[in-house]
């Protein structure tokens, strides 16, 4: 594989309410920040992750391009998913070898609608959506399947978030990720751009795997797809100092820690994780950014990032990052 590294990461100071900024206004500062950090103003490839149902408007990602300045025309793509999956597409794009930089960003304003019911719209239209099965309900079914010390996970996440200036200022620990508005951006570099830079977090492995959609068709106490993605990404090939996991409900951390084979020595979600800030469609990308930041600031030699999509941890992406290519 062609070496690819994270060269820059930025996120908004997330809020639990609508501050009055439009989506392009929300992403503008983080795009500016990663341009400054990376020293790049143009990118070989641009890919974003967002959800029209969050914005309540079709093709909402197109208007978000106004924050980039997409003229003359740029090579651009979009996933209707968390931007972690946009980063995967950008990583694949960089494997082609003809471009050396990619801008990835994600954004979402959950405050505008009813996130629990918006998540119903992602369910299959035959068997699940007509029941009105909402996000809290299907998470509750998975929570019933796993024995988990959720209060401990919630408290540790909350305590970790006290030193994260971008997280929400929650008065007490929560076991369900809070409604959040926010955005994040990452710059990936490859080829000659790697040699020009010293502070990089290399993506040593990245993979995503998916389980059957219907919750009744799988063992909800385990995540076979997260385990398969971790194996494919090479998580077990060395010690993991830090793991940033896309935990929207506290019990999911128990499932993911087992699936990724994390030891008790791994620090999970030192940022506080999604239980401290959950800007949907950017939350997974922020996991990669936070893991990369630990590598770049030297607090972690080897870090793991995880992102998820779909009901009950259906679809899981795992990346391994370190200073070494």
């Amino acid at each position: 594989m062609r070496p690819v590294a994270v060269a820059a990461f930025a996120q908004t100071t997330h809020t639990g309410h609508d501050t009055g900024l439009s989506e392009p206004e929300l992403i503008l500062p983080v795009i500016r920040a990663v341009r400054e950090q990376s020293g790049l103003t143009e990118f070989g490839f641009t890919c974003s992750g967002s959800c029209d149902y969050l914005a309540g408007a079709p093709f909402s990602f197109v208007s978000a391009l106004d924050a980039l300045g997409a003229w003359p025309p740029i090579q651009e793509s979009h996933v209707e998913m968390d931007a972690a999956f946009a980063l995967y597409e950008a990583w694949v794009r960089l494997q082609h070898g003809d471009v050396d930089s990619a801008l990835v960003y994600g954004f979402g304003k959950s405050s505008m609608g009813d996130l629990r019911e918006i998540m119903t719209l992602q369910l299959d239209p035959y068997y699940l959506a007509p029941l009105g099965l909402d996000q809290l309900s299907y998470a509750g079914l998975q929570g019933c399947a796993v024995s988990s010390t959720t209060a401990d996970i919630a408290r540790r996440s909350w305590e970790s978030a006290q030193t994260n200036p971008y997280a929400l200022k929650l008065p007490e620990p929560v076991e369900t990720a809070p409604i959040t508005d926010g955005a994040a951006a990452i710059v990936l570099v490859a080829g000659d751009l790697l040699r020009e830079r010293t502070n990089l977090a290399y993506i040593n492995g990245i993979a995503h795997r998916i389980d059957p959609h219907y919750p009744g068709m799988r063992d909800l106490a385990r995540s076979a797809s997260a385990a398969a993605a971790a194996t494919a990404a090479g998580v077990g090939e060395g010690p993991v100092d830090v793991a940033e996991l896309h935990v929207q409900f506290a019990h999911e951390e128990t499932i993911l820690a087992e699936a990724l084979g994390l030891s008790v020595d791994t620090v999970i979600n030192p940022s506080g994780g999604p239980l401290a800030a959950n800007p949907v469609m950017a939350t997974g990308l922020i996991r990669i950014g936070e893991a990369a930041a630990r590598v770049m600031d030297g607090t972690a030699t080897r870090a793991v990032a995880h992102a998820t999509s779909g009901p009950c941890l259906q679809h899981n992406l795992v990346a391994v990052l370190s200073r070494e290519s």
């Binding site: 009055g20 035959y126 699940l128 029941l131 009105g132 919750p215």
Partner: protein, 286 residues
């Protein structure tokens, strides 16, 4: 950065009439059977039965066979979660459980609602479908599932003509005059109320009548949480009351006092109404 109050508008995203979606032969068969009041699964090449049916085996990605199998209608609850405040688009408008239900004969679990009290919900609960009367070929043709029948209510009612007996008749007659009539045993000197003709301890015939009460002392009591038409409220208190001058307590309701304020040793006084004792109330100090 604008942080001052900003204008807000309501915005509705709706596709008029909804999207028309093809079901394909597998999901279509399932929904057609539902409309007819049956639940079917589909058999995979590996002989497993998928409910609800999919076109492919999620374990292998291979197409399923064309063999449909009737399952259930009963099943067993596996995972479940409680909904205290249903949303407007939930199947039920009162608290209910979501559950993964393994229908009899199926190898996978169906997600649906269970209409049962939260106390009844548990992994392993047996449930049966409650069908909608007018079915259209939708997963919501199953209104929900409900627990198996494990209990019935057996009503008993029969009427009698009774007389109170000689001693009790005298006692009740005295009550109409707001008097508690007691009897003293000539042998052991125990004072019994209600008045009776013989001493239950020594068997002596009781001839001496005397009045006791109407005040007395609570010796023990119970808090009752089931409604009773004679009681002042729920919860209410029934108490043993040792009337002044008597050696045996009578049982009566307490009124004009909250259940939590009743104590053993409390002084109470009879409240008469309609020729009998309505209840006892705390004796108020003048």
């Amino acid at each position: 950065m604008p942080s001052e109050p900003h204008p807000e508008i309501n915005h509705v995203l709706e596709f008029p009439g909804g999207y028309t979606r093809s079901t394909g032969p597998v999901i279509g068969r399932f929904l057609t059977e539902l409309r007819a009041g049956r639940i079917v699964g589909v058999r995979t090449a590996g002989r497993r039965v998928l409910v609800p049916p999919l076109e492919y085996d999620p374990a292998t990605g291979e197409p399923v066979t064309d063999e449909f199998v009737e399952v259930g209608p009963a099943g067993t609850v596996r995972e479940w979660t409680w909904v205290e405040e249903p949303r407007k688009n939930h199947p039920l408008d009162r608290p209910f459980a979501w559950a993964l239900i393994r229908l009899d004969g199926a190898d996978t679990a169906l997600v649906h609602a269970v209409d049962a009290p939260v106390k009844a919900m548990r992994t392993g609960l047996r449930v049966w479908p409650r069908w909608r009367h007018d079915r259209v070929g939708s997963i919501t043709d199953l209104e929900c599932f409900v627990p198996e029948v494990t209990t019935i209510v057996a009503n008993v009612r029969t009427e009698y003509t009774v007389t109170p007996g000689a001693a009790l008749a005298r006692y009740l007659d005295a009550l109409t005059r707001e008097v508690f009539l007691a009897g003293r045993c000539p042998s052991c000197e125990s004072v019994y109320v209600p008045y009776r003709l013989s001493c239950p301890q020594c068997g002596s015939v009781i001839e001496e009548e005397l009045e006791v009460g109407p005040s007395g002392t609570v010796t023990t009591f119970a808090i009752n949480n089931l409604p009773d038409p004679r009681a002042p409220q729920v919860p209410f208190v029934s108490a043993y009351i040792l009337l002044d001058g008597a050696d045996t307590p009578i049982i009566a309701l307490l009124g004009s006092v909250a259940a939590g304020e009743v104590t053993v040793g409390m002084r109470v006084r009879a409240v008469f109404e309609g020729g009998t004792v309505k209840w006892f109330a705390p004796e108020r100090e003048a």
